[in-house]
Symmetry: D2
């Protein structure tokens, strides 16, 4: 008889989570394991919201955004007592392997369960791309696609009105959504939390580009940058004389059908997680992609890695948008 | 020799304006007229930004959002002096017929030119659908499509988190974007400026739907409703205990490729405007669609018509979303 | 106690059928009726695949293409014996009102049930727009949107290669998909079954447009036109010397999320069908939209109406594409 | 004074070519070079269709499909004489560095120019992903996205009708489009030219999945597989009794807005090409991406590399689609 494993999604949802669940379930069953879905993340785990999944329970979900297991924040799980209780609940169901699909906080939650004897596989599900050990996280590609779609729409109308527009995107500590969408969306300027922000330089560029005949200016600003978008717009408008609008994309970036890349990454990570658990190992791992290959690192060590900022891409924006 | 006519876009841009310009230009040339494009609306008219357009100058633009003639607000044109100067400018170029593509304010601007002897054809280009004399305006269908796309994305993530989300859409005096996207997007509640808003009733519905097992609540709120979205979210969350988020779609609604409906309406209105001018008439008209047919009404009278609110659709939302 | 009614989808599926089902179910229940879903059209009816639907059984389906009740062709139902058996099956379930969502053939099937005492409401679900009594059918708007999306993609690559491309769209007897997508997609030529087709004229236009500097030619051809697309391409290429490719959109046109217009039409028709049945009437009706208003005509008479061809739009293509 | 360099697109167009041109032009100018655009590939080169590009000539093109430089096949260039003449033409314009954006054949064309003293940088622009030296080619990600979109639409309608559908995708020698879209689109079966094809096994799977309650079967077939799609459909339908339809996506796969990945790859390759030429080197290179990093290999050696087939992904489809 194969191992019994569980799978849950936790923290903010991201497009591709369903594809990851599907891969865990189907590859897990193929490997002879029983797979249990845990609803509402750690909160549902504490409440015993656990039920077995078969192949057909994950049919037709790969292309859907969100997560059919739902997700939630759990205050109760943040205490040592909660974590012990959660581990006990898994034990009650005979589950000793768990796939946690989520971001940094969710994986740290998994780590706490690992300390109670559960073998935990972390699968990086977050749009923010803010994990140090993996080049990409599941949902990031889709989130950037949503931003690009928005930039396309805003370019039309900004150009018609000869306006500047500030597009606020997600990213509290990590500017990757801003960086990637800015470079590939043809934004004139990208503001990220990793780099200081110089208002005068920004305004200078806007004035210069207008004088060169450019009709619109798209400025991408990560939410983590230390000025509100409204205030930034006010200052830019005052200094440049150019009408400046703000659009905050907010939760739109979390939804939508996952792109091929996100489905693929989710599928490969999910299969890897199932395989590692089926192999009977007891070491908890963080799964991800490095240099285009699927990797599995020690969970604790992986979470300590710092994410480097891509200077080269950042500098390229200045060169190409001019 | 045919008449010389001008075409301009004015006010907020809307998807389909380019399709309307194309139709005016090509149908106008077909009818033997010379067609001049005026850039930046009335502001550009005052500055003499006028140049002749040929068939190929409007190639490959039909599917683009925005307006390649650009648009602007013009304070100078708001005075009688400005209007006289604008009419004189048209006279200088030998233009005695003008197609104005825009909303209510833009058409009123056209009316003032009509009083100086210009024959003006108003083509309804605005996403707001707030003109009384026409069933639909150019851009409305696309704006609703953009809202539906957003609702689809937000449904994923709201459902995963079991949240309510308030989607703020455009519409200061006219709730049509909210109404149409609410009914066809499956929103639980639609708040429009035409109807009073009852917080307790809204919260009751949210509680009841949660108790019936519904995981997400989508509330569409037109910007003209007399409470800020942030404040509304605060109150809903307090009263229902359900986490409630806000997304403000803002200028996204103005952009994007026009839908078939908007291209079609724009094309039919543009052709009609060109035909009426080619017929040599001197009566200014507002062009639109009533009961599926293209109509041309006296411009002044058309602008006095009040837009009725569609009670039936509004009531249907309550029935169908339950 | 309210009436018991059934709802089925029949014939080729079309985007918006789910929205129509949802409207029938929810408006029907609101009016105090019991609503039964019949799977697989008339075939499922004969097999008694009938089950009661509640409000939540039609949750989250409005935006989905296809039909969750499925559809099928039924040879058995084509005989008088089959029709009598089908009517008896409805009687067995106590159902005396039936909403049939489908095209011409499906509605004729409904008519045969009407003759056995069932009150039938026909809701026009077909992408072909080939029904005489209604201006639009459910799914047509979405099908045209799919064609426009394809034209957009093909324009890119045709323009890069300076090619002509023949896009074959659905429409055996009715050229409306070709007509609407051609006019709003900027096609150079539209071939429809309603009009004779002159190869030399087509080739002349291609040569002239190339000489005028146009890089691509998009030719939309309805499948009902009396020459195969491959043969047409061969002849065009031979006569004009211009490389000519064929793309057959086929079943792509049947799928996809319904547009706002299709969801709206489906919703309004579905509600109307439920209302008429709830009013207790026994006259069978065909529901549709004429001049922008929802109408309900006598079913038999409605099916005898011939669809007129829109000459004006057809001629406009020639003028605007030049 | 900087070097004079040229850029051309050749062979079948692919989404992202414009982004690559933009990057070459803007990074090239930044590095102090003069950049010349050559229209219609090698054919245009022979005809001297060469003109200098500045920053603004590549404005607003990154998001467009196709290639604004156009592309063509050139028989004249296939002879040694033609190649010598082309090299001479470049010399006449003072151009000694050339960026060739295209697939295998286009790069081989570049190699022949390299033998006449031109420094050639090959940038991999083809949707087929069939180059051995690079993990991905520009346009591949977008092509797969187009296939996924089609699969989504076909799933709706296949499911409603309980049909099988064969989706024929591009790929004469390389099954990557089929492989990636099949795995991430949830196809039941993927047929690629790299693997033998067993009709009985395919039919067995269809029967088993039907018996397990699956309503639709999506079969992705690369065009290079040694049976026509129509013939395959006929045989499947005969052997399984399941209605089987064919959709051939054809040139749709070449068009559309490039995805983020394609824009990014194009941008990084284009910048790299410009940098290598600006550095004054005279060695011709093929640029691409290996393990997530941009690489530049000797052009001749790169073209000799065989593309490996991803067995692991291929096997995964069988496991996950069951």
């Amino acid at each position: 008889m194969g191992r019994k494993i569980g799978v849950l999604t936790s923290g903010g949802d991201s497009p591709g989570m369903n594809a990851a669940i599907r891969a865990v379930v189907r590859a897990g069953i193929e490997k002879g394991m029983e797979v249990y879905g845990i609803s509402r993340g750690y909160e549902g785990l504490l409440d015993g919201e656990i039920s077995q999944l078969d192949r057909s329970s994950v049919g037709d979900i790969m292309q859907r955004g969100g997560t059919f297991l739902m997700t939630a924040r759990s205050k109760r799980f943040m205490t040592e007592e909660g974590q012990a209780k959660a581990a006990m609940m898994l034990e009650t169901f005979g589950i000793d392997g768990l796939v946690v699909i989520g971001g940094d906080g969710s994986m740290r939650g998994g780590l706490s369960l690992a300390k109670h004897g559960i073998t935990v596989m972390g699968v990086p599900g977050t749009i923010d791309n803010d994990l140090g050990y993996t080049d990409y996280t599941i949902g990031f590609d889709t989130a950037v696609a949503t931003v690009l779609d928005a930039i396309g729409k805003l370019r039309d109308t900004s150009s018609a009105h000869e306006r500047a527009v500030i597009v606020e995107v997600m990213g509290r500590n990590c500017g990757d959504i801003a960086l990637y969408s800015g470079l590939t969306g043809g934004a004139e300027e990208v503001l990220v939390p990793e780099r200081p922000f110089d208002l005068n330089e920004l305004c200078r560029k806007i004035v210069i580009s207008r004088n060169r005949g450019k009709r619109h200016n798209i400025i991408i600003k990560a939410e983590g940058v230390d000025i509100s978008s409204a205030e930034l717009a006010r200052q830019v408008q005052e200094k440049t004389g150019k009408e400046t609008k703000v659009v905050i994309l907010s939760y739109l970036q979390r939804g939508g059908e996952p792109t091929m890349r996100d489905r693929l990454l989710a599928t490969l990570c999910g299969v890897k997680a199932a395989e590692l658990l089926a192999d009977g190992g007891s070491q908890s791992k963080a799964i991800g992609t490095v240099n285009g290959r699927i990797v599995a690192y020690d969970l604790e060590e992986a979470l300590q890695q710092k994410r480097p900022f891509d200077e080269e891409m950042y500098d390229m924006i200045g060169v190409l948008a001019k």
